[in-house]
């Protein structure tokens, strides 16, 4: 079976005027369906850059990045938008919309897709929030929630659309040990239930236990793929 994320010989540089600063060097990594991969590495090693390329947020031009069978290298905006819509993204900060309640925030993922009524959307959002243990905080806005609760809402938002891929960028960075562990445990459980693959970048070594596989990125090079 071909990998759900198939990255081969990816090179990426930031261009600043005339100077090219290489960030990713010849990165090759396949991720299979249902696999949970944690990418670690020190700050500035290129983890987040890698994640944004795979998530269709950043355009790379050298190598091959196939996500869900679509080539993202030199891709059109439409292809990138397609990939984004099929990917659940969990951010370092929770990045919830301040003006919306937990339920409305989660429902935003579903509003992009046609064919669902408002009632269905809110039901799905409620279901998802119950699954992350936030069923009693449906109508709270982000500033009425704790950091851990916000991140759980954000996990619900990423997973409510039943994505095949979940990308998480340091999801525990702003959380204490316990709520961080809780958050990733929930994430793992839900991903396993729905068969989604997870690519999680972090330098929080306390959560490596949830991974099926850990890869280390250092100075743009994969050490142990």
């Amino acid at each position: 079976m071909s990998p759900i994320i198939d990255v081969r010989n990816l090179n990426f540089s930031f261009i600043n005027g005339e100077i090219a600063l290489p960030v990713l060097k010849n990165v090759t990594i396949p991720i299979h369906k249902g696999e949970i991969v944690i990418m670690t590495g020190p700050s500035g090693s290129g983890k987040t850059t890698f994640l944004t390329i795979v998530g269709g947020l950043r355009q790379a031009i050298d190598g091959s990045v196939k996500v869900l069978g679509q080539q993202l290298i030199n891709s059109t905006e439409q292809i990138k938008v397609n990939i984004r819509q099929q990917t659940g993204y969990i951010f370092q900060q929770h990045n919830l919309l301040k003006s919306l309640t937990a339920q409305q925030n989660v429902s935003m993922t579903l509003e992009m897709h046609n064919g669902m009524t408002e009632k269905e959307r809110l039901e799905r959002a409620t279901e998802m929030l119950r699954a992350v243990g936030m069923g009693d905080r449906l109508h709270h806005k982000p500033d009425q929630l704790s950091g851990g609760q916000r991140q759980r809402v954000s996990i619900a938002r990423a997973l409510v659309g039943q994505p095949k891929i979940v990308l998480a960028d340091e999801p525990t960075a702003s959380l204490d040990k316990q709520s961080g562990q809780e958050a990733v445990t929930i994430l793992k459980r839900l991903a396993k239930e729905s068969g989604a693959s997870i690519l999680l970048v972090t330098h929080d070594y306390r959560i490596l236990n949830i991974a099926d596989r850990v890869v280390e990125l250092e100075d743009g090079v994969i050490n142990n793929a």
Partner: protein, 389 residues
């Protein structure tokens, strides 16, 4: 296509973001309200000007009106020979002609003795040139020496003329000539004159000793019933000297209105004020939308990362602009109605607030907000998820 995600969804998010921060919403509404009131007032003054420019000619009763071609407007006429008016009698459709004498004169206020300028209309009382009941009823008394009828709707600076009249103080001076007030009529002020007085042609000559009855300011022509006004006008155009203008009633009003709106700088001033109001409003709304996008750029970038397209945010910005326009317009309209009443009571000029004016201002405000939205959407490109995460 399902309309829900296309417009309702971004509009709903725009609305939720707006009401989330109520302080900022209030400031935004105040900005639109300000522009709205400014535009309403400018248009109101402009309409009052147009309405007041025609108050006097609208009360004239006649079919055709002669004025010297060099006359810019009724308040500063160039005289022409009475003979010229009399020649119109040669046309078979003309029933009667009467001269109208116009002049600005100093009226001595009864209590304070301060002299203020007002407009004096002089004509043969039997000609019934003004379609005003009091003037018609008093035509016998007007024939007496030194009698005038005073416009009650003159500015209050002329003093409580009515009360003084009822208390028996009816005597004062116009151009240092002693006159008697015998009654009151209602006309209203214009930009040219703060007050009005009607008198007989003979009394007019007494107040303006330098004037000559043979030199008239305006000629009023009445036709026999059933005669064609247009046809007579065309005939007279050929017969009379080319230095006179012949106006129908409608043309006279248009001529007067046009003077104030176009020739005089006043029309321009209010037009300019309207544009300034819209520009100030535009800048305010633009600033609001711009900072709104800047404040929400993380959220927009998040939504983009989730797969929302650029066009969703463009619709969101325009929806925000639309809500601001409506939310600012409604209190703006209410406040403007109040200010119109206040201005009417202060200026003694009619300031009607019509449905078409309400619609005009709403369209102005709406296009102002949309223009601001159009200028602000370029800020959306800052919401780039790749640069933010």
């Amino acid at each position: 296509m399902n309309i829900f995600p296309w417009y309702y969804s971004p509009a709903r998010l725009a609305w939720r973001q707006l009401i989330h921060d109520q302080t900022k919403l209030m400031a935004a509404i105040a900005g639109v309200l300000f522009a709205c009131v400014l535009v309403f007032m400018q248009l109101g003054f402009k309409d009052a000007l147009i309405a007041s420019a025609a108050t006097a000619p609208k009360k004239l009763s006649g079919d055709l009106f002669l004025m010297h071609k060099q006359s810019e407007a009724m308040w500063r006429p160039v005289t022409f020979k009475r003979n010229e008016l009399m020649r119109a009698l040669g046309h078979s459709a003309v029933a009667e002609v009467s001269p109208l004498y116009l002049g600005l004169a100093a009226f001595k206020t009864i209590e304070t003795n301060i002299k203020r300028t007002l407009m004096v209309y002089g004509f043969d009382p039997d000609a019934e040139l003004f379609d005003v009941e009091t003037i018609k009823n008093k035509r016998i008394e007007l024939r007496l020496k030194n009698t005038i009828i005073f416009d009650e709707y003159s500015r209050p600076e002329f003093g409580p003329v009515r009360q003084l009249f009822e208390a028996g103080r009816t005597e004062t001076e116009i151009n240092d000539y002693k006159i008697q007030i015998i009654d009151f009529f209602r006309l209203g002020i214009s930009f040219a004159a703060d007050g009005n007085v009607v008198t007989s042609d003979l009394n007019f000559m007494r107040m303006f000793p330098a004037r000559n009855p043979g030199d008239i300011d305006m000629g009023v022509i009445r036709l026999h019933p059933g005669a064609s006004i247009e046809q007579t006008k065309a005939d007279l155009d050929k017969q009379l000297n080319s230095f006179v203008n012949i106006f129908t009633f409608a043309e006279l009003i248009e001529f007067e209105t046009k003077y104030w709106t176009e020739t005089a700088p006043i029309g321009f001033i209010f037009g300019f004020g309207t544009v300034m109001g819209l520009i100030v409003g535009l800048v305010i709304v633009y600033q609001i939308l711009f900072t709104d996008i800047a404040n929400h750029r993380h959220e927009f970038a998040t939504l983009k990362a989730m797969g929302y397209k650029q066009s969703y945010f463009v619709r969101l910005v325009f929806a925000t602009a639309f809500f601001l326009a409506v939310l600012g317009f409604i209190p703006g309209l209410i406040l403007s109605i109040g200010l119109y009443h206040l201005a009417e009571s202060q200026m003694f000029m009619p300031m009607p607030i019509s449905f078409s004016k309400v619609m005009t201002v709403f369209l102005f405000i709406l296009s102002m907000c949309f223009t601001a939205g159009l200028l602000a959407i370029r800020k959306l490109k800052d919401a780039n998820p790749a640069d933010m995460f």
